[in-house]
């Protein structure tokens, strides 16, 4: 088991981000974390990354507290976190210097595949910055990937490139948790889908089971969360 959440609740003052989540994440799955705005998707991913601490319950990643596992997992947040002066080669130096599992050759391949321009991020479009961030994330040989809205605000062509990279780079000993609003586009990626509603688990099912019922992930999204 790569990660386990046991009865996890996160409160922000009087507001509940997530409540009573118990989920296991084994290797070999691409998990779609789906829900409406404010349903707790980002909170859940940040809890797994160790960026937030649970108010109740426990989280283990690689049998340790999430923060102790930072070197072994990837978190790609929804905010644009690159410094404006950064070029792809600065990003490479940053990642290679801080993460032992960063693969420089793979990074260059990803830059080419995702067509990331070699200029400062302040001169890049949002889509280009998103692709650079994804290249930085996927160039690590980690086992647990937490991708929070990597497709948000990115044009259709860039979104396709990102999804193609995710498919190409994924290995069976890894797990990817991907939260997105672009459910229809990402549907084909998912092995499993976790639907959240108001911070609670609404449905946790395999994509295979949905297909066996003759339903799509999008259809189920509408049924469960409408």
């Amino acid at each position: 088991m790569l990660a386990r959440m046991e009865n996890v609740t996160k409160r922000y003052g009087t507001t509940e981000g997530v409540r009573g989540l118990s989920l296991d994440f084994p290797a070999g799955e691409v998990v779609g974390v789906l829900g409406l705005n404010g349903s707790g998707k980002s909170t859940m991913l940040k809890l797994l990354a160790g960026l937030l601490l649970p108010t109740e319950g426990s989280i283990r990643v690689f049998e340790a507290a999430p923060r102790a596992s930072r070197a072994r997992m990837v978190f790609l947040g929804e905010t644009d976190t690159l410094w404006p002066w950064m070029t792809p080669s600065d990003a490479e130096r940053f990642m290679a210097g801080l993460y032992e599992d960063f693969d420089t050759a793979r990074f260059h391949e990803l830059l080419d595949a995702l067509e990331v321009p070699r200029r400062k991020t302040k001169a890049m479009s949002k889509g280009e910055r998103g692709r650079l961030r994804l290249a930085m994330a996927l160039a690590r040989n980690a086992k647990f990937y937490l991708l929070d809205e990597p497709l948000a605000g990115i044009d259709l062509i860039s979104r396709e490139k990102i999804l193609q990279s995710l498919v190409r780079e994924w290995h069976t000993d890894e797990a990817i948790l991907l939260s997105t609003h672009e459910v229809a586009e990402a549907e084909g990626l998912f092995d499993r889908v976790v639907y959240l509603r108001d911070g609670r688990l609404a449905l946790d099912t395999s994509a295979e089971a949905l297909r066996a019922e003759g339903k799509s992930v999008v259809q189920t999204f509408k049924e469960v969360l409408a």
């Binding site: 003052g13 940040k46 990354a49 160790g50 960026l51 937030l52 601490l53 923060r67 930072r70 070197a71 978190f75 947040g77 905010t79 644009d80 976190t81 690159l82 410094w83 002066w85 600065d90 130096r93 940053f94 290679a96 210097g97 801080l98 993460y99 032992e100």
Partner: protein, 263 residues
């Protein structure tokens, strides 16, 4: 070690404009000093010394702003990125502190050189020991009792504010911290005064008055008596040792907050 070097590089990339501007400003001060053309040599030396004192004070403020960088830290979630990296909070805090402290050392040593220069312009020729004391020992002492704890305090404040969002519900402890600082400084100062000179003083510039005598003919009688009779005790070591220790404690606290904080 590689990760610490990377953090230092990151600090440099984020702050080099500040650092270069600060060090470049010394050219402006040197130019300003040359513009002081008062006839009396002692008065000219005094004005020039005052200008360098002003340069030091302005530099101190800029260094604090440089290490603070509250806005750029929280913008675009970059703090979040740094929190996620494997190096500990202590490493992040140490890298930032080390970078800014290194810039401060270069700046204040350069100001020491400028003091030597204005002394030379005034016809005071320091021997090699006094020169060493002016450009290295005195800046080290003054930085230890002022800049290093001030930078550590600013860094702690910055981490505190970034961590607990002083603009949000965390503003009360942040405000208490800021308002409480003068009282803590006063308490610390009183304590230091009480124990000052328990250790032998650091006797700097024992040769310098003779250079002054050579140039200006005489020095005040009590200074002369103090030197000749061994009354000159030098600079007290206790403030330096205590404030260096305080700096370390502040940095450890900043590192600890970094370790515990939520993004």
């Amino acid at each position: 070690m590689r990760s610490f070097r990377t953090l230092l590089w990151l600090e440099h990339r984020r702050s080099w404009v500040w650092a270069v501007s600060l060090l470049g400003s010394l050219a402006f001060w040197a130019w300003g000093i040359k513009q002081v053309l008062v006839m009396d040599a002692a008065e000219r030396l005094g004005i020039r010394s005052g200008l360098l004192g002003l340069a030091a004070a302005i530099g101190a403020v800029i260094l604090c702003l440089m290490i603070g960088r509250i806005r750029s830290e929280t913008r675009h979630g970059q703090y979040q990125v740094l929190l996620l990296t494997p190096p500990s909070g202590y490493s992040h805090v140490a890298a930032r502190y080390l970078y800014v402290a290194a810039v401060a050392v270069v700046y204040f040593v350069a100001i020491g050189f400028l003091y030597w220069w204005i002394a030379a312009l005034a016809g005071i020729h320091l021997d090699s020991q006094s020169l060493f004391e002016l450009i290295l020992a005195l800046p080290f002492y003054l930085m230890s009792v002022t800049m290093l704890p001030l930078l550590a305090w600013t860094l702690l404040l910055m981490v505190f504010i970034s961590a607990y969002r002083i603009s949000g519900p965390g503003w009360i402890p942040g405000t208490v911290m800021i308002l409480g600082t003068p009282f803590v400084v006063r308490w610390l100062w009183d304590g230091i005064i009480r124990i000052a000179y328990s250790l032998p003083g650091w006797k700097l510039f024992t040769n310098a008055p003779y250079a002054l005598i050579q140039r200006f003919g005489e020095i005040e009688e009590d200074v002369s008596v103090a030197l000749n009779q061994g009354i000159y005790e030098g600079l007290p070591l206790e403030p330096m040792l205590i404030l260096l220790a305080v700096s370390v404690v502040l940095l450890i606290a900043a590192g600890r907050i970094w370790q515990e904080v939520e993004a």
